[in-house]
Symmetry: C2
């Protein structure tokens, strides 16, 4: 049995006429009769009762017609599903992100996904530092990552989504909360909450180099891994912190954000395997390019808070 048999039988069943069904199928009548006979022979029963004046479905024919129509519809659905997957209109995308991207860029990206790729499923595990995401990408545990460039591992491509200045998070009652234009030197003697040292945090590295370049010495530092905890500790009055501008989207009672000169900028980029054949990734990257690019300044502004 072949799908041809099903299609032909369905056509005859619907037209109740071999000649017209054949016409509809763009074949001539004799081969249609032949193929239907063949199907009946294989099934061991007549599906159609023919006289020269009328073609009718037998009981078995009615049952088989129902099933055949369903099978052909299922096949079309399967075809559509494959096509959608192949073109990246559907599928699963495992997304990594740094904690500081959770408040502005991640929601923005998710919103665009929902608008332009509603059938793509995003899978997001917990936040990861840039190097962790790099490893996860290379090891195929992630498909794309929202991370802070530059990436160290080979085989990854990135696309910058935003360049943002570092801003200062201070407790509401703090002396720096009300002061006029701030500079890095104003942090001298302050307790500074920082991301863990080493090569782990790109933001942490930017903060460190800003302090070193200006020769500013803080009283001490507390290392905090997650941005949400860091801001919470600022709210508690434990110290101040330098965070990417987009963290401002996280408003907490008792926390004020202040611009501060000389703190430098950090980038946020989308990263993916350069040899990734997955259509979802390509479609997703392209979609972000289309709707975050310079050709659409309004949405671009939403992410690109300040261009260096």
């Amino acid at each position: 049995m072949e799908l041809r048999h099903l299609k032909y039988f369905v056509a005859v069943a619907e037209h109740r006429h071999f000649g017209r069904a054949a016409e509809h199928l763009h074949i001539s009548q004799p081969p249609l009769s032949q193929q239907v006979r063949q199907l009946e022979r294989e099934l061991g029963t007549e599906l159609l009762s023919r006289t020269t004046r009328r073609v009718d479905l037998t009981e078995a024919g009615r049952a088989f017609y129902t099933d055949a129509v369903a099978i052909l519809a299922d096949l079309d659905a399967a075809r559509a599903r494959v096509r959608a997957l192949a073109q990246g209109w559907s599928g699963l995308l495992r997304v990594g992100f740094t904690g500081s991207a959770s408040y502005r860029q991640l929601p923005q990206v998710a919103r665009l996904k929902q608008t332009y790729l509603p059938d793509v499923e995003l899978q997001m595990s917990s936040e990861m530092l840039t190097p962790t995401q790099e490893r996860a990408l290379v090891e195929q545990r992630l498909d794309v990552g929202l991370l802070r460039p530059p990436v160290q591992m080979p085989g990854l491509t990135t696309r910058t989504l935003a360049v943002e200045p570092l801003v200062l998070a201070v407790p509401a009652g703090h002396r720096l909360a009300g002061a006029a234009a701030l500079g890095i030197a104003d942090l001298a003697g302050e307790v500074l909450l920082t991301y863990p040292g080493g090569a782990g945090s790109v933001v942490g590295g930017a903060v460190e180099s800003a302090l070193r370049q200006t020769g500013t010495r803080v009283a001490r530092t507390h290392e905090v891994e997650q941005t949400s905890s860091m801001v919470a500790l600022v709210a508690a009055g434990l110290g101040v912190a330098l965070v990417p501008d987009s963290v401002r989207a996280l408003t907490l009672e008792g926390v004020r954000y202040r611009e501060i000169a000389g703190a430098g900028t950090v980038e946020l980029a989308l990263a993916w395997r350069e040899d990734d054949a997955s259509p979802v990734v390509a479609r997703f990257v392209r979609m972000l390019g289309d709707h975050l690019g310079p050709s659409r300044p309004k949405e671009a502004d939403a992410l690109t808070t300040a261009v260096a």
Copy 2:
């Protein structure tokens, strides 16, 4: 696309090896590669990622594999369904029956159906007199009927299921309830409940001829169409009635059944269209023949209460 493509793809997906899949399909490897490529070309995407060392499913391949397996299974199910219908193991049987067959023969037939043809569905409308069933059979509104022969209309075949004597239903306190061996003559002067006159009721005709042959004159008759009502009226003391022996299965408080000599017998038969091509009918008739025939005396006894 043809089913061949689905089968071949499924085989490769399951073996993860073109050579072994080809062997399993009893074809050589090159055409298998060709057909799978063809399928991929039609779907517009790779379903398998091949290297000489490993064959793997792509994302689209996994999705299509699931669908293909389901479709092939559905096709097998459709095939099985048609086969069952074609051989009469399943399907719908519209059954007619006379009221007096409801109490013994109809349950017995239904029980046999349930045992030997569990997938056949019986559709039973309300009870019908023999001529009504004949018409319904000829007009294709019924497939088989439990009726009282002989049938008048041409084109019907019957098979006798039982020959039963008429017995007398009397109110419990009635003078005939306790009397010794009864004969038709004992009905003289009684109020007799009868089935409607005319050619309608075969049992009614048998009663009438028994009375005429013995010259017995009853006081009067009440015509009652349904056996259940007739017995209920006997219980109410309205009169006595001659009913087929199998009606004894209907026990009602206040009613006694008595054998009565000379009342004659009536037959119960299964009737169907002699040109009926329906496999269920053939299977059903055959099943009843096998399990009610003389070769199985025990079950035959259950229906053939008394052979003339």
